[in-house]
């Protein structure tokens, strides 16, 4: 039986969809069978980032309202033999069309057939958030090194800690800019991790390649030469239980990340 991981943040635009696409891709590259579920009803875009928009026939709401079977709505990613699928969000429906109970049942069905279900959560803490979290076993909170994003991450972590079925959440700090951090114009990684006091599972640099790749419908994780790709692949391996210290950014900013090792439990 597989595991469901919700990718959430509170604040919008911090990289939930990008993270979902890339972590899902990286897990598939590790040989895991992955299903991406977009729960951002009305504002779907995981399909676009994955380059799968043109193949959509049915969506999440069609499945929940019985207009089709789950397997009919799943879009297969041709780049991976039979390892990566996407269940797209509905673009037109009202987000109250879905209930947490329905989501729970759907996710638990998907867990029969997949190793990992990656759930892309909408922004906010209302209805959409509750639907996204309903079927999850684990949670990853994404933040950027901005005060407002960290504040919202803190709020979300507080809510996640109340969910009995969800393991204590892990943290990804996205869009790190070394120069700004060094100058003290941005919260540093250490500061954020201490403040939120949950385990850090990865840091991703702010990289134009990420945007370019998303615009081409080719998640950056597929490109082995990019630093961001290595960061996402490392996150996938940490999800699988490997203990990997932070590498990609260390050479660029000696000192800044030295204290970080303790968050990974690495000596």
């Amino acid at each position: 039986m597989g595991e469901a991981i919700v990718i959430t943040s509170g604040k919008g635009g911090v990289g939930k969809t990008t993270t979902s696409a890339n972590v899902g891709t990286a897990l598939a590259l590790q040989g895991k069978k992955v299903c991406l579920v977009d729960t951002d009803i009305g504002l779907r875009n995981l399909d676009v980032v994955m380059g799968l928009e043109n193949r959509i026939i049915y969506d999440l709401v069609d499945v929940l309202e019985g207009r089709c079977k789950v397997h009919q709505a799943l879009v297969k990613d041709k780049r991976f033999e039979d390892m990566l699928y996407l269940l797209p969000a509905a673009q037109t429906s009202d987000k109250t069309a879905v209930t947490p109970e329905q989501m729970k049942e759907l996710i638990s069905n998907l867990k029969q057939d997949y190793d990992y279900i990656i759930i892309d959560c909408p922004a906010g803490i209302e209805h959409g958030y509750r639907n996204a979290v309903a079927g999850a076993d684990r949670a990853i909170v994404v933040t950027t090194p901005e005060v407002s994003a960290v504040r919202d991450a803190d709020r979300i972590i507080g809510l996640l800690e109340k969910e009995e079925n969800v393991e204590s959440p892990k943290l990804i700090i996205n869009r790190i800019r070394n120069q700004m951090m060094k100058n003290g114009d941005m919260l540093d990684v250490d500061e954020i991790a201490t403040h939120l006091s949950i385990d850090l599972i990865g840091i991703v640099a702010d990289d134009d390649e990420v945007i370019r790749a998303s615009n081409h419908g080719e998640p950056i994780a597929l490109n082995p030469n990019s630093k961001a790709a290595i960061a996402y692949r490392n996150i996938a391996r940490r999800i699988l239980g490997e203990s990997i210290p932070l590498q990609p950014l260390e050479d660029e900013a000696p000192g800044v990340f030295s204290k970080l090792k303790k968050f990974f439990g690495v000596k």
């Binding site: 504040r151 803190d154 972590i157 507080g158 006091s197």
Partner: protein, 225 residues
């Protein structure tokens, strides 16, 4: 048969003290108060005389207390200043216990969360920005205070807030409020500090060590060690 005295009146320099017997019926008491107070002829005085009522081991409900006050007030120049009893209800006792208890909590109070206790709070963990802790009594934080702390919630001006790192966005004690400077300097450690209301009715922050002089009553240990 000679009736025993259920109500005895004593004059003091502060006024009158009524000692009410606690084994007779409440109705008997009322009658006798009415009777006794009408007897005492002091109608020439126009000074208001305050009355202290001692009810011994009798429990009076709020309505009964009101009744007795009313009864006394009907007599000329008399007004009830206080009613004291040796007994309280279990509920009141539990409330008093709660208000004097230290509640330990090991948790992080995150943005949007509010933790409230009736007595003192011992928080082992941080209060993050946007988080709030409220206590009827003192607040002791073993961690970083970055959010809001409100001590002495019910009006206790003696209440204090302590923190291992004091970087609150706001501190409230009783009805006094103080807000943080707009920016904390990065090198400003703010370690081991306490906040209290000073003599000019304003919240001040000081070293933790000052506490034993400022609020000696915080120590509840009796005897030497």
């Amino acid at each position: 048969m000679k009736k025993t005295q259920n109500v005895t009146i004593k004059g003091t320099k502060d006024g009158l003290t009524l000692h009410l017997d606690d084994s007779c019926s409440y109705e008997e008491l009322k009658e006798e108060i009415d009777h006794k107070l009408s007897d005492s002829a002091r109608s020439r005085e126009d000074r208001l005389l305050s009355v202290h009522v001692q009810v011994g081991n009798r429990y009076l409900t709020t309505e009964q207390e009101e009744e007795i006050k009313e009864l006394v007030r009907q007599k000329k120049n008399l007004v009830v200043d206080s009613i004291s009893s040796n007994v309280i209800t279990k509920e009141e006792a539990e409330q008093i216990k709660k208000e004097n208890e230290v509640v330990p909590v090991a948790r992080i109070i995150r943005s949007g969360q509010v933790l409230q206790v009736p007595g003192d709070l011992l928080l082992v963990g941080d209060v993050n920005p946007g988080g709030t802790v409220i206590a009827g009594g003192n607040i002791y934080i073993m961690g970083v205070l970055r959010g809001v702390a409100h001590a002495g919630f019910n009006g206790d001006k003696e209440a204090i807030v302590t923190a291992s790192v004091m970087k609150p966005s706001q501190i409230r004690i009783s009805d006094c409020i103080t807000r943080a400077p707009d920016h904390y300097q990065d090198d400003d450690k703010r370690e081991m500090e306490c906040a209290y209301i000073n003599d000019s009715d304003q919240i001040t922050v000081d070293r933790l060590q000052m506490l034993m002089h400022l609020r000696p009553n915080i120590t509840r240990l009796e005897g030497g060690y």
